[in-house]
């Protein structure tokens, strides 16, 4: 009995494998990416963009990297408390979901990719090499991101 159940699941796995692999193809496109130009005294900055998932499976933004900084991490903005006592903060998360046929918006005051330990200061008007990491499939998208003070209008 146990054996047949195992066999059944094994068969299921094998039969589904090609399908799973097809879904592994992350179909995410990036729109309007930008890195915030920050004062020289700052050792961190943030990257914003809109991620569009055109596939029927959810994807996740799990991180990124850039040559100009030590690390990149997905962050959410938190709000605790009400009224005047409300405090706004940020919190690192393992992943930010991009729903199937949906979008993930990274924007000022909201979700963002925090770029920490700046080794080189991003200058306004320049472009920075930036890679984002997506799951499933350990997928990477290489971008050239403009450095600016405000969102792309």
């Amino acid at each position: 009995m146990v054996k047949s159940v195992r066999l059944f699941f094994f068969a299921l796995l094998v039969l589904n494998a090609p399908v799973l692999r097809a879904d592994d193809q992350v179909a995410v496109t990036v729109q309007r990416p930008w890195m915030r130009a920050v004062p020289d005294v700052m050792d961190s900055t943030a990257v914003y963009m809109v991620l569009v998932n055109t596939s029927s499976v959810p994807a996740e933004l799990v991180g990124g990297s850039t040559t100009i900084a030590d690390s990149v991490a997905p962050m959410i903005t938190t709000k605790e408390g009400e009224g005047l006592k409300q405090v706004v903060g940020m919190q690192g998360v393992d992943a930010l979901e991009i729903p199937a046929h949906g979008t993930l918006v990274l924007e000022p005051n909201g979700n963002h990719l925090m770029v920490m330990g700046l080794k080189e200061h991003p200058k306004e008007g320049t472009q920075v090499d930036f890679t984002i990491k997506l799951e499933p499939g350990d997928h990477e998208i290489h971008l050239k991101i403009p450095v600016q003070k405000k969102p792309v209008k």
Partner: protein, 228 residues
Amino acid sequence: MSVVSPNTTSVPNPPAKRPFFDWRVWTVAIVLLVAVGLAVLFGVKQNAQQGFFGMRLFPLKTAYDFKLQGANGAEVRLDQFQGKAVLFLFGFTHCANICPTSLTNLTEVYQALTPEERKQVQVVFISVDPNRDTPQTLEQYVTSFDPTFIGATASKPAIDQTVLAYGGSYEMVAGPTNQTNDYSVNHSAYTYLVNPSGKLELLYGNEKLAEVSKMVSDIRAVLREPRS
């Protein structure tokens, strides 16, 4: 189950017909009409007075006179800006999202004012992280947004007193590496507008600051108010 036979309802006598010009009905109607009219008029007037984009405080109270340190040992006190509208906010320079967003928006608001108006407006950024933010760092930080902006901080007790006086709050949160200097600060993200008479008048949540033209019209309205 027993079948209940419906009671035969007796038809009540029809009420005596009131004359059309019943004075009681008309009195009530007129009183109501006048009341509604007054309420509408009063409401419109109230709206015109309180048509602010920011959250307006009422009654207006004298704003707490914070005493902080600016660059080069200069004291930064709220009272020194009497006669100006002061926009101030709490934050810290290691903040990568909220603080630079707020300051970028405030820069845009400030620069949308006329040069004459700008002379009557002061933006102050108060760091709640004196451990990492020196007055010098703060000056470099805020002046990169606009050269007239002032950065200030103080000892922790003075900061706490200031935050408390404005009903705000903040807390340090350990960062991912758990090292001493790896922490973030969750903080009140309101911008407070103190009018030229030194009264705390308007509050803005951080997301409101992006509405540049509405911010500008609030500031203009505050500058036009009669001074008390």
